[in-house]
Symmetry: C2
Subunit: 323 residues, 2 copies
């Protein structure tokens, strides 16, 4: 199948207004005059960020959603995306069909459309690179660097589930879990749930925010470092995936939950005067948020306390190496 036929059969149905039917050299975006664009680009590769044999729909969703998670953490609303796909022979028609169905479902769910992209041959490995574009009112992007002493640190959802899901896939452990928990953890790994619904609340009320993609400890370090503050987190307040307690006697640990990757939750620094409004906005969006710590002056990293002592980790961030 040549590239034109590929576009015709699989990608044109995904094309939005600025895509020009994917029949031009480039797409376009015509932003209104009172908006900034937020742009982010994440790449995922077979055998690194997803497993060979993972369902194509989930590969599509993961590729798109890790980018939507970045947009949400910056307070931006999704607008459009560009897709580059490196296709080895096993990325065949059934694979592509399912991959594009995964994208189509997410386009509807997150109200975003394809603007452009590229497909190339690959001798071996599937690689997907997505650039997502979001919009927000001029000058309102939420940075990592705005946290102020006195701010309260809020975390959306729960963490640790995704990394546990990866462990289940890799070593087939988790016999102590029932089928429902197993399936849910695997899905957390395969299909991040970007907190798009929280973007508006973050934009209106947070002084700083980022998405937790490489582990809470390391990502909290990044927020602290960018803001020139100390982030103090109480481990007992950090909401963990409810299934994790069943795994703690079986190789999984609190440390893994706090330093594992792929959570795609939002960590936000909320000034005390904005706390109630933030919590109310999150409740309206039906996204649970939990106060897990506070911002203190003078520092450049996060401290995670357990029983009053700072926890020490062998590594603070998850590094995506070969699976």
């Amino acid at each position: 199948m040549d590239e034109l036929e590929l576009i015709d059969r699989f990608f044109r149905p995904l094309a939005g207004e600025g895509a020009l039917g994917l029949l031009d050299d480039a797409g376009f975006v015509s932003p209104s005059s009172d908006r900034d664009l937020v742009v982010t680009k994440d790449m995922i590769a077979e055998g690194v960020h997803f497993l060979p044999g993972d369902p194509p729909e989930t590969v599509a969703r993961k590729a798109l959603r890790v980018n939507l998670s970045d947009l949400a953490a910056k307070g931006a609303k999704p607008l459009g995306y560009l897709l580059a796909l490196a296709q080895p022979p096993h990325c065949n028609e059934p694979w592509l069909k399912a991959f594009c169905e995964g994208l189509a479902g997410d386009q509807e769910r997150y109200r975003i459309a394809l603007i452009g992209g590229d497909t190339i041959a690959s001798p071996d490995r599937i690689t997907v690179s997505i650039t997502a574009i979001g919009t927000l009112p001029t000058g309102t992007m939420v940075h990592r660097s705005g946290a102020k002493p006195g701010d309260i640190l809020y975390l959306s959802g729960t963490i640790g589930g995704s990394n546990a899901g990866l462990s289940l896939l890799q070593d087939r452990s988790g016999a102590e879990l029932d089928e429902e928990d197993r399936a849910r953890l695997v899905l957390r790994y395969r299909e991040p749930q970007p907190r798009t619904g929280l973007a508006e609340a973050v934009r209106r009320h947070a002084s700083a925010a980022l998405d937790i993609s490489d582990g809470l400890a390391g990502d909290a370090d990044k927020l602290a470092s960018a803001s020139g503050v100390r982030a103090v987190i109480e481990a007992r307040h950090v909401p963990l995936d409810p299934a994790l307690s069943k795994l703690f006697d079986h190789g999984f640990s609190l440390e893994k939950a706090l330093t594992g990757g792929d959570d795609y939750e939002i960590l936000a620094a909320i000034p005390p005067g904005e706390e109630n409004a933030f919590k109310e906005a999150a409740a309206r969006a039906e996204i649970p948020v939990t106060a897990i710590g506070r911002v203190e002056a003078n520092g450049d990293r996060a401290v995670i306390l357990k029983d009053g002592e700072e926890m020490a980790f062998s590594r603070r961030s998850f590094v995506h190496g070969q699976l």
Copy 2:
């Protein structure tokens, strides 16, 4: 080296204003109210679009310039780009240093800055995906679909040289060439010269345009098909790389020149009333342009005439498969 160190040492020096020091989840673009953004995304992979062992600077330039070529063909001025890099172990510090030097030189040359991106581990193959963003006055993007009967078809520069350069690299042919010609052809393959300087002339005077990346015949088909016209090209008017004549008795052919890839010249349809202004603007930009044919009503493909007969090709477009 972890990702933070990698950013710090190699990529931060490339970061423009909207990149936030590459220390945030996303970059931003704040377009002025009277401009549209043009976005394009091309991916290149080791062993497909460039050869293992190609100098890292040229890989960087090729990755960026194929995107700049798209922007130029749409009439857009470069603004910024995002970079995703899949790094296998042989993409080591000296490689990265040279790669980023290649980008730095081109950023100055084309006045474009890095806005954001991603680096990931790759077990084997270097893959580079770049998304380039350009700007132009609202509503003035030049499409492929605007060619009208009576328009004259203009081509920038010469074609065939890049494909001949690839042949030289692959089969070490070309003994009949002197060193200077050999080096120039190889450079044409490795380092496209996007016609950024022609963008303004294209935007002001062309009814349709595209960049020639997969061969003149197949790309002229695309312009004709998108515009619903017949593109009639006279082979004798098509400017070929001057070294090609020396290769025509040695395996290279006119067909290869007309259907080979990686030319990155611009094909533009110019209404007769705009011809002089277009040629003058091209001359001011010091970019040679040549009238190679005309647009006729009723059609959906290009016809390339040689001695009054339509040329037949075994394939009309270059397909980037494994090198």
